[in-house]
């Protein structure tokens, strides 16, 4: 049960962060506690979106370039259900996840029935995300280009908290839950089938694996998790527009984090999100120190370089590197 112990240790470590917050802020690394918490919640939301991607992309080998379709659906559902239909935000969260899963199932059904794989699957998911982005940018229900604001109304029942730590712990709880889920999947028939499908679909079919069903399950679950990340994003920042919800940025973050962290592993997405955003922030700080002002895009240049380096030199990601060192 060492796997469960490491999940517990990692989650406890992250849960202890608020204890270190005063020291981190005091050391001048972060402008203030707000900056630190916003960043850490952001890391957890990206980690969650990436955990979703990793399920279909990492274990199942179905590289989606359009997980924004699911993130955005979760984000918009969370915003629209409460602002337009007066639904309680907790209930909206559940509905957002269900809607994300539905979108995943539909896109998955269409793509997998057409036997799209590899680059073709990547392209079709990208196109779906773009269609959603354009529609969301024009449709009245999403607030069009102006986006949708969720009114500030700080109450527990409203999924808005007075204390900064509360939302951090909520996001952490979801990440921990998905870590556990991932571990259970790894040890289940479904998880083994998923890897078999990734490695060789024909061989899997010959052994009685219904590959279409396995891939559909994976993309549905994957979409649900990424939609949860989107819903949390809305609830944390209380605003969503088409470029945030369905923009290419989130599709890229969701696939970069697992690849950098360790594709097809339980901790890969979380480690990757921490690494990427950590290095990105460090690059921003360094640029600021060198040039005296911020330069846009620097963090993303770091992401891109990191992606190429990982693929060239560390196909098993940061976790693979740590593994090799430990041995």
């Amino acid at each position: 049960m060492t796997a469960y112990r490491s999940i517990l240790l990692v989650v406890l470590g992250l849960a202890a962060l608020p204890l270190a917050a005063p020291a981190l802020v005091g050391a001048g690394i972060f402008a203030g506690a707000n900056t630190l918490y916003n960043l850490m919640v952001f890391v957890l939301i990206i980690a969650l979106a990436a955990q979703g991607w990793n399920l279909a992309g990492g274990y199942g080998g179905q590289f989606s370039f359009g997980h924004a379709a699911f993130f955005g659906t979760g984000a918009y559902a969370q915003a629209i259900l409460q602002t337009r239909y007066g639904i309680n935000p907790w209930a909206a969260l559940v509905a957002a996840v269900a809607l994300g899963a539905l979108v995943g199932a539909v896109i998955g059904f269409l793509a997998f029935r057409a036997r799209l794989r590899g680059s073709y699957f990547a392209l079709v998911t990208l196109a779906f995300a773009e269609v959603f982005r354009i529609l969301a940018n024009a449709a009245p229900i999403t607030g069009g280009a102006a986006g949708t604001l969720v009114p500030l109304d700080v109450r527990w029942a409203n999924l808005q908290f007075a204390s900064r730590e509360a939302f951090y712990y909520l996001a952490l709880a979801f990440v921990a839950l998905v870590l556990l889920l991932n571990r259970l999947v790894e040890r289940s028939r479904f998880g083994t089938y998923l890897v078999a499908v990734r490695e060789n679909e024909d061989a899997a079919r010959a052994l009685g694996v219904d590959t279409l069903q396995v891939k559909l399950k994976a993309i549905t679950l994957s979409a649900a998790i990424t939609a949860l990340a989107g819903a949390l994003y809305t609830q944390k920042f209380l605003y969503v527009d088409a470029n945030i919800a369905y923009g290419a940025w989130i599709s890229i973050e969701a696939l970069l984090a697992p690849i950098v962290g360790g594709i097809g592993t339980v901790f890969g997405p979380l480690v990757g999100a921490l690494t990427l955003i950590g290095l990105g922030e460090a690059a921003k700080v360094a640029i600021h120190a060198l040039f005296g002002s911020a330069i846009p895009g620097v963090d993303l240049v770091v992401y891109g370089v990191l992606l190429i380096l990982v693929i060239a030199f560390a196909p098993r990601g940061v976790i693979g590197l740590l593994d090799r060192r430990a041995r």
Binding site: T192, R205, A206, L207
Partner: protein
């Protein structure tokens, strides 16, 4: 157990398999032989559901299963191995075999227990290794174990002996006997004639997509048409002539 009735497969203008009929008796080991490009593997892909025949029927235990997908046939009890063995690289040897075992044992513990039984039957050890670390002979055994773990009634073996050296072949022939002794019917494509002679009770020979002979191994190898298919036109006559003169 298996009846192939007048099966034909055309790819565009090319006829890969033409009106082939054959029967595999329950509990037997049967061989499917023929020169390279004869259409043996194409016939296998149709029996196992990866390709749909252009014409003809495939009957399994009396039911028409023509054109059913491979995963459905696996559930009915038809398993196959592939000529080019490819283990699931991300999984251990045990998990590889378990992919097969999960078909009848959804719970992990039971699937793993069944996987271990099958692994020991085919002589696979050290199950916690990554499957990608196996040798060619090890991969062949793994391919066999995976298919066997689905508890098939009919096992289709596509050149499990190809690429093995004589001592490895000697090691694996008894494994195939042991599998049959457990009640599994076997149909094998094979090039290693010695193994065919010692393993198979009946042999079906195809060349250029057509049946040219069928019978016991001894009958088949003395059939002039078979000799010609393998050695070229007129070979049977030359051999016979040499036998007379020598």
């Amino acid at each position: 157990m298996l009846n192939v009735e007048g099966v034909t497969k055309r790819f565009g203008g090319l006829v890969a398999v033409s009106d082939v009929s054959m029967t595999v008796a329950k509990g037997s080991i049967s061989g499917l032989i023929g020169p390279n490009g004869a259409g043996k593997t194409t016939l296998f892909t149709m029996i196992s559901g990866f390709e749909r025949p252009t014409a003809g029927r495939v009957l399994f235990e009396g039911d028409d299963v023509t054109g059913r997908p491979p995963e459905a046939l696996a559930l009915l009890g038809i398993a196959r191995t592939f000529q080019i063995v490819q283990p699931f690289a991300g999984l251990t040897v045990r998990e590889n075999v378990a992919v097969g075992a999960y078909l009848r044992h959804p719970r992990r513990e039971e699937a793993f227990a069944r996987a271990e039984e099958v692994a020991s039957l085919v002589g696979l050890a050290d199950l916690d290794r990554p499957a990608s670390a196996l040798t060619v002979a090890g991969r062949k055994r793994l391919e066999l174990a995976r298919a066997l773990a689905t508890d098939p009634k009919l096992l289709l073996l596509d050149e499990v002996l190809a690429g093995l050296n004589p001592s490895e072949i000697r090691d694996i022939v008894p494994v195939i006997h042991a599998i049959r002794d457990q009640g599994v019917t076997i149909l094998m494509i094979e090039h290693v004639m010695q193994a065919v002679m010692s393993l198979c009770e009946r042999v079906h020979v195809i060349a250029n997509g057509r049946t040219i002979a069928a019978g016991t191994p001894a009958e088949v190898v003395s059939d002039p048409q078979v000799v010609e298919a393998y050695l070229g036109q007129g070979a049977a006559g030359r051999l016979a002539g040499r036998a007379v003169h020598g």
